[in-house]
């Protein structure tokens, strides 16, 4: 059984229809990349899988681990193992990353019927996971995203992903605003977290990130639909030729 199956998903924001029939299937152990021009629904799709109530699903279904998740609350989906790495992480002044993650880890454990981690267990886990993204202790004690550089924000997203150990991670333009060193750290973090029993969706504009995180499949999301799916070489082709040829291909069909 696939980990995630999206069938004929239509969604809108206000009166405007953004997704117009998305179909997608993702199995454990796979990395999928979703590419496409701006404003064609990539972030919308990510938000809907995570449960952002800003969007209204008008048709279709999302089956995750055999359950239709459209009626599940955001925090419930997260506790079931869905993680969204934000394109624009939100600042939360006065709440340290440590406290934020402790709250999140323990609330997820509670959902799964597990006892909360003790202070020392939690700190040990933090120390381990901080290494994955080369995060300094100084950063971990700062308020969540407050005054962070673009690179620090994205590192923090991958750190949170490491702490929460999701089954399905969706990374929404994690490469935007990153210099080449930060990109390497963030990508290697994602690769370290890759296992046969989890899956990752990487949303990006550029082939550059895919040099580091090698996808099994590349999808092109255009005008609210996935119009083309191919192997990792498709990303290279898009990089050199742009999206025009896909538009032409669509018109010719």
């Amino acid at each position: 059984m696939a980990l995630l199956t999206i069938r004929n998903l239509h969604a809108s924001i206000g009166e405007k229809e953004i997704l117009k029939g998305v179909n997608l299937e993702i199995n454990r152990g796979e990395v999928h990349s979703i590419m496409g021009p701006n404003g064609n629904g990539k972030s919308t799709l990510a938000g809907i899988i995570a449960g952002n109530s800003k969007y209204t699903v008008t048709e279709g279904e999302i089956i995750y681990k055999g359950k239709n998740i459209l009626d599940m609350a955001v925090d419930e989906r997260a506790a079931e193992g869905i993680f969204l790495g934000f394109q624009y992480p939100v600042e939360i002044p006065g709440v340290s990353i440590t406290n934020f993650m402790r709250t999140a880890v323990n609330e997820q454990r509670k959902y799964r019927g597990l006892d909360p981690l003790s202070g020392s267990e939690f700190l040990k886990m933090m120390e381990e996971k901080k290494k994955i993204v080369e995060m300094t202790s100084k950063l971990a004690n700062r308020s969540v995203n407050e005054g962070f550089s673009g690179g620090e924000k994205k590192k923090n997203e991958i750190f949170q992903m490491a702490m929460l150990d999701p089954t399905l991670a969706i990374l929404d333009e994690t490469d935007s605003g990153l210099d080449i060193d930060a990109l390497r750290i963030v990508a290697s973090g994602v690769n370290k977290l890759r296992r046969p029993d989890n899956a990752t969706i990487v949303i990006t504009h550029y082939q550059r990130l895919l040099d580091y995180i090698v996808p099994d499949f590349v999808h092109v999301l255009y005008e609210g639909r996935i119009v083309k799916t191919g192997p990792k070489e498709l990303a290279l082709e898009l990089e050199s030729k742009g999206y025009e040829w896909i538009k032409e291909e669509l018109q010719n069909n």
């Binding site: 449960g51 109530s53 609350a73 955001v74 997260a78 969204l84 939100v90 006065g94 709440v95 934020f100």
Partner: protein, 427 residues
């Protein structure tokens, strides 16, 4: 009814015609059961356990200070106002009443009838290594009408941190019409931290008058955790160039509580800066008011004055009157003012919940995040940490009057537990 209580009530209708006092109505708290204090003393020991903070503590109990003068050496004087009048009449005569440039009838009532309070004098060039803590406690077992008067003088080039707590120790009704004068000498720096944790039957009209001489700085942060009706009435007058004023406040109200902040900042000289940030969270039918007045006089060039008031209303019936007000009489200034009344940011809520955190916890985190900016203005770290903890408890509904009131933790409690509970489910 006590004559002074009646006098206070008689002043009110006239005062309410004045814009500055428009929303101030203490009638429901000024009842027959209030009597004047006669030096009621309790056996209670008023402790304070802020970790890592050693303060020179003076307790004013039911309007009177029974403590002997604190022996600090170096010419520093910390004693009751009574003792100061007896032993340091020249200093008291020089300063008492002199910070009040715009008298009002409530303050005048205090000036005529105050019982006692504390006196602090920090001489020229002295930096106090320890904070001075004024603990003003109400604990008589019956209703009281109190008028406490404090006088604080920080002479030229000195530094003083003053922690000022107003606490109820029982559940009896009370009303306090208090006046604190703070004189900040040339190049001196005074930090004034006000904590208020009173029971729901108690009203407090807290006048603070500060005068600043050239090159001096004044930082004031008030944290109103609980109380029936609390008005912080603050007037800051800059009497020379290059003064710095930081005046901030955080207030939380639920049930039928009322919190009210008035602040007047007078820029009469060039090159002075002032910044005000007031934030509040109101639930149930709680009411609040913010009235900030910055006056930039003719000739006060290069003035910088910023004023901001932000509110979160949790229920449909909570109410805030907010009036940021700049009055400017010259061109060469940088000033801004603004106020907001809002709810929690949906995008931030989504972000927090997407980590598996429940809606309820996410809301509490964001409410705390809202308060944090004001708490960060407290420079005294142990006090800041303690207040961060108390505000979090307040938001979680875990703060109680007795075991955890603003600073006198672990003291015996003889009243019912007051449960502050902001119900975030209503957001």
């Amino acid at each position: 009814m006590e004559k002074i209580v009646q006098d206070f009530l008689n002043i009110q209708p006239q005062m309410r015609k004045n814009e500055v006092w428009r929303f101030v109505d203490f009638s429901s708290l000024l009842t027959e059961e209030l009597t004047l204090p006669h030096g009621e003393r309790q056996t209670a020991e008023y402790r304070c356990n802020v970790p890592d903070m050693e303060a020179l503590r003076m307790v004013v109990e039911n309007g009177f200070c029974h403590q002997p003068a604190s022996d600090c050496g170096n010419g520093v004087i910390i004693c009751s106002l009574h003792d100061a009048i007896k032993h340091h009449p020249e200093l008291v005569n020089q300063y008492l009443g002199h910070c009040i440039t715009r008298p009002n009838p409530y303050q005048q009532l205090n000036s005529e009838h105050y019982t006692d309070g504390i006196f602090v004098y920090v001489p020229k060039g002295t930096s106090m290594p320890q904070p001075v803590q004024l603990q003003s406690v109400i604990n008589a077992g019956h209703g009281l009408f109190l008028q406490v008067r404090n006088l604080v003088v920080a002479d030229e080039g000195s530094h003083l941190t003053l922690i000022h707590c107003d606490d109820s120790y029982d559940s009896a009704a009370a009303f306090a019409n208090n006046v604190t004068e703070i004189h900040v000498g040339q190049d001196a720096y005074v930090e004034h931290y006000k904590m208020q944790n009173l029971n729901n039957q108690t009203g407090l009209l807290n006048h603070t008058y500060a005068t600043l001489e050239q090159g001096s700085s004044f930082r004031s942060v008030s944290v109103t955790l609980n109380g029936g009706h609390i008005r912080n009435h603050t007037e800051v007058i800059m009497q020379g160039e290059h003064c710095e004023v930081q005046a901030h406040g955080l207030y939380m109200g639920d049930g039928e509580q009322q919190t009210d902040n008035y602040i007047f900042v007078d820029h009469a000289f060039p090159n002075c800066h002032s910044r005000e940030l007031f934030k509040g969270i109101l639930d149930d039918t709680a009411r609040g008011a913010f009235n900030g007045h910055v006056l930039v006089r003719d000739g006060a060039t290069k003035t910088e004055a910023y004023q901001s008031n932000n509110n979160i209303l949790i229920s449909d019936k909570a109410f805030i009157n907010t009036k940021p007000f700049l009055e400017i009489y010259n061109d060469d200034v940088k000033c801004s003012h603004g106020s907001t009344i809002g709810q929690l940011d949906e995008q931030a809520l989504f972000y927090i919940r997407s980590r598996g955190i429940s809606l309820r916890t996410a809301r509490t985190l964001l409410l705390y995040a809202f308060c944090d900016e004001v708490l960060q203005q407290i420079e005294l770290e142990p006090l800041r940490n303690r207040l961060i903890d108390l505000v979090k408890k307040r938001l979680h509904g875990e703060l109680t009057l007795c075991s955890d009131c603003a600073l006198h933790c672990s003291s015996p409690c003889n009243g019912p537990e007051v449960n502050f509970y902001i119900d975030t489910d209503k957001l």
